[in-house]
Every structure is written in C-alpha cells, then in structure tokens.
Symmetry: C2
C-alpha cells in the first residue's frame, strides 16, 4: 500500500452547495477525490486539434486507455478528433501535443495487489502532462483526466490543475455474482469500464453457488452442464473478461465457494455431498444445507484438479474459496462425519471446516496462489497467509488482523442492502478512532463493494452498483479526511452522468422499466410514475423479503421497488430543507417545504385515486403508496403551518403515533420524508418552548420528541 503525504486540502463546502466552479472544491469534479489537487483557475482549451503522445514505457495498455478516453470525449462533445496514424508515438513536426503521457516502467502484465498506482497530472493553459512510475499509474491518471473535460462559456476545456495522486488502500474491489441471476459477458464488461473510471482495481467474481455453477470446467463438465441451466461463461469468455480487465489495470479474482453454498457442486457430484442426493439447483435465495464432505478423501483430488484448471484461467495471485454460511446441518446429521471429527480431535464443525481449509490451502498454495475466504474461516488453525474477507459479525477486521491475517472489508459495503451512499461513505476500514494497532492497520488491505444478485437481474444490476460503488471507491482511494458528504453527493451526480455516458445502464434501463408501467398496449407516459420512483427509496433486503417471501430465481424483478434507488435525491433535499427551517439560519424560507409537500400530496392523491395511467394495472397497484404519501404530506403541511403558533394539545403526539404506522414499508419501498416530517410535527408540538430555550436545547428536545419508539419485539 502507498502511504500518502500529509494533506494540504481543506474541505469547506456546505450543505446545499450548488455545482461549484472547478477551483472551489478540493476534489474538483473528480471522483474519487485525488490525494492532492490544486485547481489553478485557468483553462486548457479543447477542440478537434487535440493531440497526445505516449512517451517511455507502454505495452499498449496506456494507448488503449487513451483511445477509450478520446472516444468518450468524442461522444461527449460530438467533435471528431484528429487521428494520429502513428498511434501517439510522436507529435507532428511543430505541434505541441495537448497531452503528454510519460511512464517510467511497464506495470506487471497481471495486475498485482499493491502495485504502484501513483501519478501526477499537471494541466496548464497550453498542455497537460501525466507522469507515472508505471503504466498502471497512467491508467489511473487517465481516469481522472477523463472526468475533467467540461464546458465553460468559451467552449470545451480542461481546468488547469496540479494533481498528485495515490490510493489509500491497495485492494479496492467490486464483487459480482452471476450465480443468483445470470449476468452476460457484456454486463460484466461494462461494469469493468465503470470500475476503471472509479479506480476500483479488483473484480471479485463469485462463480459458484447454490443457484448456479457459472463457469465451464473441461475437467468436470457436469458442473456447468448440470448446474447452470446453460448459463455459464465459457473458458474463452473468461479469458476475454480477464484480458479486458487487465487492460484496465484491474485484477479478476475468482471465487469458488466451498464447502457450503455448494448445491450445484453436488447436483453434478452427489457423491461429494454430506447427505444423500440427488440434488437440484436451488431456485431460492438464502442459506441452504448442501455442503461438501471434507471426510471424503476422494474430494481432494477432485478439488486439486478443478482448482488447477481454474488457476490456468485466472492468472490472479489470489483464489477466493468462500467458506461462508456453512450451516453444518448435514455435517451434524451425518454420523460418519461426526465420528471423523471425534477421531481427528477436530472438536466441532468449525474444527472440521478449518481441517478442510488446511487441505484446501495446500492445494491453492501448490498452484502458486494465495487463499482468501469469508470471515467464518477465521480459526486458530487457519493457515498463515490466508486473507480474511470480513462481511459479518462486529469484529471481523479486529480479529483477523490481531491473528496476523491480511483483511479486506465488505461489511457495510453491501450494495444489495440498499444502504444510502452516505452510510457507505462513512464506513472507513481504518477510521481516525480505529482500535487497530499500526501493525494491524498495515494488514488492512482495503475493501470490496458486494453486489449479491438475489434481487437483481442483468436489467437492474447496474442500477444497484452505480453510482454508489463510486462512493466505496472514493472511501478506499481517497484520504480519510475526504469526507464532506454534500460534496460527495454533488460529485456523485457528475459521476452518474459519466457512467451513463459510457454505457452503464442504470439510467437507461430504469427509464425503460418505468415505461413498462403501461397497460400492455401503449408505452406508458412514465413521468408521474417516475416522480414517485424518484421519491420512494428501495427497501433493504429485509423489506424486500418481507414484501415477497416466496421469491425465486424466476420472479420478475421489474416492479416499482426495482425502479427505486437506495438514495432519493428528493428526500435528501427535503430533509436538508427541514433541517434548515427548524435549526438553521433565518434566511431559509418555508416555501420550499410547503411546495414540496403540496406536490407530493397531489401526486399521492392522483396515485390513490387512479388518475395516473388509469388503464394500467401496475399503476393501480401503487394506490397504497399514494395513500401513504398523501397522508404523510398532509401531516407535514399541517405541521409547517403550526411551526410558529404551535399545534393544538395532543395533536403532535397523535400525528407522531400515526406516522409510526405510516412509516412502514409498502410494496418493498420506504418513504424517506417520514423522518423529516416527524421532526416538523415534533417542532410544532414544541413551538411554545422555542423562544424560551437555547437553540441547542430546543433542537435536542425536538429531536427527542421526533424519535419513534423502539419497535416491539
């Protein structure tokens, strides 16, 4: 890992800041924020005469990235850039290139954990110069530069700047799961493009699961033939994906999940299961019982051969062996296995799991690979050198690093949990108040955003990954001190546009899905439905399961919830306005609140009364959301009206009680304005106290009154 020179940047943006001039925010318009950036206020003009040269080391990766950036810029500006037939080798005589890239050395052919990713980027009024010790650093610099092209009143330009950049953590990953729902190659590739733009550097490819075995094995073809419904990556496709990622400086680490999550292993080979077969592909999410039998000595030659085959496909130095959510039921129920545990002094199921991992580690290290697994594998007998992937429990990172293992953080980075971007942004692997010793801190390699696919399809997966994965990327790349939430959201919106522009389908597919809310005949006028989808927030996993407890792999995920997002910008804006009106400066008027609430009341009533797309059964189903929205907005309007003169006795308490029920998720989505409306109601109830109390006391009192009672068990 690179350590970063002390930061000289100061974060000053306040809530509600509008799109700022490039020079006014340390990060400019770039995400992840560079380690150091000075925006010098000038402009480097950009027009079709743009030229670039690549000097020093390059094996084509830098020229390739430069080609892609030029193409993106052409798409963005509509301008046709001059082509250099000499492939950036040298400028034409008398021409000063617009961009000079200088690399001192080639990066390793196979991207490596901890390889040098640093670069400097100096943009002056007549030239941009990108310098990097290695070609990978140049790729990271180009990801920054790509985001800098913008327009001012004169035309297209790059803002002048002095940037010195390096990652905080070496391991910045995205897990993709084509098992629960199939993700075709092009989905993987376009997400790799998004990763490159966000400077994420490892695709964690979760390839085997209870719900699907997604990779071709020539050694054991029954695995993909019987375990995939025909939906798997051929070995040629895997090589293609690995090469595509490597060209972008991105590792591809495969995961073959054993001994649990192993239904499809034993669909093909029931003889390796811990309970009698036959088995079928499991169509349901969740933790399932099938598990490999570590006491079967014939299992290990099979795993040896399989992992050896996979090692030829994935040149990465790590293999992830899963190891999570082994519920042990089939081990418990199998007398032979329990006897083996006793006979070998393994103590219990975790002891048997550790025995299995030691055998596996011999296989993996024999292939020249390092082993990684989910944090259930943490055990006194876990072989040294294993990297622990912390996803559950409260102390995974502490425990793993204390025991001397390298560790990667995913807890709090689960994209499928639909956490708001701000929550994930605050999930620092090594926060300022960390309890880790410096030695332990050095063992924290980084983190991974996880895109588990129980609730996504190829149609929606982009919308769950992006733009939020860019926030995880910033948390892992940028200095700890870069943590201004409003500026993060401002730049996240820009990143969203960049991702849309380069082919991620988070916006495009959502529009199409909203158009499906028609009557099956004409294309729906999706405007009003979209208004609702922009406001309601996608429920967490628990909310979704509660909405549809019988979900299977075949359930169509094209509902209203699938069109909503974790982060509602409208909800965020309203919460900020409430905060300002109740506790902020006097300049903020209440007009914004009444206008927003009035609009939502109307929307709610229109939905409830079936006035929107009345011919559509799908919109009619949203009536319950309309009723909820109408009721909550009505309470909010009454509260705003009562902020000064106060509410009638008991009104506030009654409304807060009503809002508890009204806050319950419906149709798998939640209404983000409930919480700020509770504040408004509480403030109306406490209006008389406001003049008599210090501001901080009043605020405390309002917030306390607004806090909903703890839910009953």
């Amino acid at each position: 890992m690179k350590s970063i020179a002390a930061l000289s940047i100061v974060l000053t943006l306040s809530a509600g800041a509008l799109l700022a001039e490039p020079a006014s925010t340390p990060a400019g318009n770039v995400m992840p924020a560079p380690a150091q950036a000075r925006w010098t206020g000038g402009r480097l003009a950009f027009d079709p005469s743009f030229t670039a040269v690549v000097q020093g080391a390059d094996d084509g990766r830098v020229r390739g990235a430069l080609d892609r950036m030029r193409r993106l810029w052409e798409l963005r500006t509509g301008l046709t850039l001059a082509r250099s037939e000499a492939a950036y080798a040298a400028p034409a005589a008398g021409v000063k290139p617009t961009l000079v890239i200088e690399c001192q050395a080639l990066a390793p052919v196979v991207p490596k954990v901890g390889e040098d990713e640093t670069y400097t980027l100096d943009v002056t009024a007549d030239q941009a110069v990108l310098r990097a010790p290695t070609t990978t650093g140049a790729l990271r610099g180009l990801a920054t530069l790509t985001q800098m092209l913008q327009a001012d009143a004169t035309g297209w330009m790059l803002p002048t700047a002095e940037i010195k950049d390096a990652p905080r953590f070496a391991w910045r990953g995205l897990l993709m799961d084509p098992c629960r729902h199939w993700l075709p190659v092009e989905v993987i590739k376009r997400n790799i493009d998004g990763m490159a733009l966000a400077k994420l550097n490892v695709l964690h490819f979760h390839l085997t699961e209870d719900q699907g075995f997604r990779i071709e094995s020539k050694a054991f073809p029954k695995l993909h033939e019987l375990g995939s419904d025909g939906l798997y990556y051929t070995q040629e496709q895997i090589r293609d994906i690995v090469a595509y990622a490597a060209a972008r400086g991105i590792r591809v680490m495969p995961e073959f999940d054993v001994p649990g999550h192993a239904t499809t292993w034993v669909v093909a080979y029931p003889e390796f299961a811990s309970a009698p077969g036959p088995y079928q592909i499991n169509r349901r999410p969740g933790v399932h019982d099938p598990v490999l039998d570590p006491t079967n000595e014939e299992l290990y030659p099979m795993l040896q051969k399989f992992f050896a085959e996979m090692a030829t496909l994935f040149p990465d130095e790590y293999i992830h062996i899963g190891g999570d959510e082994n519920n042990g039921k089939h081990w418990k129920a199998n007398a032979k296995i329990q006897e083996f545990i006793r006979a070998n002094n393994l103590k219990d199921n975790p002891g048997l799991h550790a025995y299995f991992n030691r055998k596996l580690q011999v296989i993996v290290s024999g292939l020249g690979k390092k082993m990684m697994g989910w944090n259930e594998i943490l055990h006194p007998n876990l072989p040294a050198g294993t990297v622990v992937h912390y996803w559950m429990g409260a102390t995974g990172l502490v425990d793993a690093t204390r025991m001397g293992f390298g560790a990667v953080l995913s807890r709090g980075f689960y994209l499928d949990h639909q956490l708001p971007a701000a929550t994930m942004y605050a999930n620092d692997p090594v926060p300022a108040n960390t309890k880790l010793t410096p030695e332990q801190q050095a063992r924290v390699l980084g983190g991974e955003a996880c895109m588990w696919a129980e609730w996504v399809t190829e149609e929606t997966v982009d919308s769950r990954i992006w733009p939020r994965a860019a926030v995880v990327a910033e948390r892992l790349w940028s200095p700890r001190e870069v943590n201004d939430v409003p500026d993060m959201y401002r730049r996240l919106a820009l990143m969203n546009a960049r991702l849309d522009e380069q082919g991620l389908r988070h916006e495009m597919n959502r529009d199409m899905m909203l158009r499906r809310f028609g009557d099956g005949v004409s294309m729906a006028d999706a405007r009003r439905v979209r208004e609702a989808a922009d406001l309601f927030e996608a429920g967490t996993l628990g909310v979704r399961f509660k909405q549809n407890p019988t979900v299977t792999q075949a359930t169509p995920l094209t509902g209203f919830a699938d069109c909503t997002r974790a982060d509602s910008a409208a909800g965020r804006r309203f919460a900020a306005d409430v905060e300002a009106v109740l506790f902020g400066d006097a300049a903020t008027t209440r007009a914004a609140l009444t206008e927003a609430l009035g609009g939502w009341r109307q929307l709610g009533q229109d939905l409830a009364a079936g006035r929107i797309a009345p011919a559509s059964p799908r919109v009619r189903e949203l009536a319950t959301l309309g009723e909820q929205l109408d009721a909550v907005a009505a309470i909010g309007l009454e509260a705003v009206a009562a902020l000064d003169k106060g509410a009638a006795a008991g009104w506030s308490e009654a409304q807060l009680a009503a809002l508890v029920k009204l806050g319950d998720p419906r149709l798998g989505v939640t209404l983000p304005i409930v919480k700020p409306v509770r504040l408004l109601v509480a403030a109306a109830g406490q209006a008389a106290a406001r003049p008599t109390l210090p501001a901080a006391d009043w605020r405390r009192q309002v917030e306390k009154a607004a806090t909903p009672p703890a839910p009953k068990k």
Copy 2:
C-alpha cells in the same frame, strides 16, 4: 409461398383515430396484421395461474418461444407465472390449460425459403388454442399472441379472437451491415429478437466490405486479421448467431461481396486485386475502386476454399455474392484485363462481371447452395437459378422476373435513407396495378429492409431499424389490402413499446444520447432538447453527407441528427391538423394549430437565445435550428390569423419565398412543419377565393400555390 384466402376484413379507421378497442380495427393491436382476424369482443383473463401445454411435434423451438413469451409477459405485468416443471408436456390433473399449442410436424431444422408459416389462433373466454402445421407456424402464432396481452379495467387479459394467418411473401428480410460500423454479437441478437416479433424471417448478414472484413476465416486468416481492426465475429460466434436465429425460425444468409466492395479482400491479398497494392482498410463510405481480378485464375481456388469454409458455418440454402457498385475503373486501367475481355469475347466490363459470376456460380452450386446478388449482376449470361436482389434503377424487379430469375425487393426499403414509415409501407413489391405477369409475380420472393451502417453505430443502429422495419415486415407479411396508414402508425407505436420492452435500444439509447447534450459535467436535463429532437426529422443520406462530407468510420455519430428520427409524430400530427383545418370538416378548431405553433416559436426562441442548457456548447450549436423554427412558426401563426380575412397583397408570395430558404436542412435534419405551413400561407393568400369555389377546386388551388418551385440545377 403461401397464397392467402380472400380477405373478409374491411379497413375503416380514419385519420386521428385514437387507441381503439381491440375489436374496432381488423388488425387489433397486432403488427404485422394477420391475414384474417375476427375480434369477438370477449376477454380471456390472464393471471399468475396461466398454464400452457405443447402438443404434437416440437423439438424445443416452440417450448423455447413459449418460455420467452412467458418471460416477456412477466416483465410486462410484473406477475410471477407458475412454472411447469414438466416443461409444458401435460397439464396438471383437473387443470384446463390457458394456452394449448398443437403442431402437426417439425419444421426443417434449417429454416427454408417458402416453408409453411401458417397458423390459426382461437382465443375464447376460457382458452387460447394455437394450431399450426409446423413448429415454425407456431412461432409466428406466438409472435401474434405476445402482442395481444393487455389490460382492461378488470386487469390483464387476452382479447378473444379467431385468427387465421399466413404470410403473403416467403422472403421477409433485414440486412445488417457490421462492416461500415462494427455491431457486436448482442446487437445482432437483440435485433433478431425484434425480427421474430415482427415475423421477419431472414437476416441478411453483410459480412465483407471496403471498411471491414467481419468474419473469421481459418482458411485465410489474413482476411479478418488485416481487414477488421480486430472487430470480427469468431466462427463460434457465427454458429451461436445462426442457432439463435434458427430457434426463432429465422434464416441467416451471409453476403460476401465480390468482386467490388472488396478493399479488405485485397488488403489481405493484394495479388488478387486488379491494380497494384498495397491496400488499406477504407475509412470512408462510398463506392471505391478496389476490385478482384477475374482474369487471375488463382483467384478461383481461393474463392472455392473460402466459400467452402463459409458454407460449413452458414447452413442456409443461399449465399449472397454481392456484385454491386463495381465501378470498373481498375479493370479499365488494366491492359491485361482489357485484353482478356477482348480475347474471350466478353465485350465489356459487365461481360467480365458476368464471366466472374458464372465461375462463382459453379463454386456456389458445387457447395449445394443457391446464389443471390444485387441487381447489377443481371446479365444475359447470368446463370439460371440465381436470385436477383433489386436495389437500384427503376426496373429491377420487372427485368429480373422477365428474364426468369427469382427476385427480392429492397429498393424503397432502405432504412438508412430515413424514409418515413408511410413511404416504405406504400412500397408494395406487387401492387394492385403491377405490370408483372402472373408468372413474373410468382418469381417475386419478397423483400428486405436494408440497414446500411455508414451513419449508424452500435449505439444508434436500433433506432434506425426500429420501429420502421416492422412496417416493412407488415408490407411483406400482410395482405396487400392492409394499407390504412393511420392505423399502421397507431399500431407502430404499440410495436415500438413492445420492442422497447424486450430490449431493443432505440428508445433507451436515445434518451442517454440526449442526456449527453450537457456541459460535460452534469447530466443534461434533456427535456427541451428532446422536444426539438421529437420535432425535427433525421435528414436523408444526401442531407447527412452534405452536413458532414468528410465523414469517416471514426466520426462520432452522437449529434443532434443522430437523436432525431425519420418520422416525427409531432410533425405528422400538425400536418393532419392543417389538413383538417384547411380542407376538412368544420368541427376542427384552429386552436391546436396556434398552440402547437406558439409552443414551437417559444422553443425556437429559447434555443436561438441560448436559454436552454446555456452551459452546453452542444445545445448552443442548435441555435440555428432555433432560428429556423422560430421563423417558420411565426409565419405559420400569421397565416392562421389570416385564414379568414386573408393576407395583405404580396404577403403570401413573400412568405412562400422565405419558406423555400427556411426549408433547407440544417445540421443534418429537416423541419417537417415547413410543408404544412406552406399550405397555411397559400390558403391565407387564397382566402378570398374560398367562398367562391367548390371545395375541391379551392384545395387544388391552395396546393398548387403551396408547391415550392423546382430546385435549380
């Protein structure tokens, strides 16, 4: 070819008809319109209990299509349908299946020209029954049924109907051209899905060109290695595409264009060229000089080996050998070739071309294939049995069929020419007033919509094919008498929604492209720009070339013109309103005209003054369109105001003169309201005459005055 039983349907819809109840239009909501359909006014309820059985013959193609239809219906309705683990083999005891499919026989494994595609579909209030002589007929029936699922006030349902359907022509094609711009496999596949929905049955795959050699040849790898920039289909991908199409009852006919359009052949093998090399891939559209040398006897063994290799990849009975646009310059300039012509009594270049075709025909027929070529190959010496593909000149169909050749029509079906749907709809291969004899008519196999790719990329190609290709499909499938233009446009809008829903990207990518009209920082609020893009129409090929005469393969095709369409619904609506106000019944008010014109004036002024997305250089470029729109709409408003009292002397003439200039295309797009505004202006000029003349005379007089002068040469 199937002949169709006499039609009992009567077309009654008038202009401006709104979305009709299923029973009120013969075609219902289906495109192409079935040969015979009686909508019986009832409903078959649709809910998650939907079940289907497949009886009789099936090799998996029908079950596959049924799976896809069920999935589309799930996506459309958001409902999870019950799954039959028995794969549609038999209904559960006591359950009456919602849908019964009965096929009498398997269709040929490789789809064939003229194979049976007929089916009947009977939907009653308690069951739908689809019967077909072959599995291919069942696929066509499912394409119809897919479009019928819709909602009424009760919920989802299928309208009851008695449908008896058969194609008018056996050959209903779509040409795709991955040469001028590369089209990845997924683009081809999703367009095959669109073809299946529109009952198109042959993908004409144009694989070699001056701009790219797009198929892997293991016999002659230099062809794709040197001729494709690495952008070609592997043989595995070709097999995948062919199988994907065959599963949908769609042929894949490859085209290897020789002897002209052959630059990439001679990039690899300059020794087969008619002029000295070396050659480079040509980046420019147009007709280029490089041509194979038919006098080189070593050419034929090479072609023999190449075509033999390709014949193993493409099981279709036809191979298209191109043969178009051979300008003969290199033949003329080559003394040896001219001497060969003289020595062999070949008379001239066309004679040499015919000599070449005869040699080629021996190769092609030796492989068990039939030969097809563009109509330049028509020559007294053309081998019998060749199919002539009519694309240019005025008499291709007449000439070919008179000489005894089978013929396929593409003239008038060129999607890249940006012809309005109505124009292509009227392009009947065998119109009622045809001059073809019955024998000649029998030789007309059908037609093909051509999607030449000079002006499209993978991002925009769907938007040029769809939805208009569905109109060509209807022309080729439905009876000649199905030609109600307003009902065609009504159903085309429905088809557009179906195509969007199932993954075609004509709508999605356009939205994204319009969002790119920002400042390079934030995502543009594309609403106002879209308003303009919905009104202006994409220019014809000539207009585009005039706009950008230096276009190459690298030109970004992400401009405003690329976001417009051939058919502006807003323009069409305005023209219909003008027609009604000037020549129609008195009930039509003028308010619609002034409202539309007033809105466009405002839009034009906002664009011209830079009030829309002022930070965006791309929107600023549209100022010239804003000026045009403002000026034309202003004239239109004045004309509407003067319709009764008449215009001042000379006003009408002056405005018509101004409108000639104002009608010139700008930025590669045209303004469709110019023509109807000319009518308004002429009518204002003739207002005094209106009360004095019979309606028909007045109309003639107005139309004559509105006709612009013929352009000067």
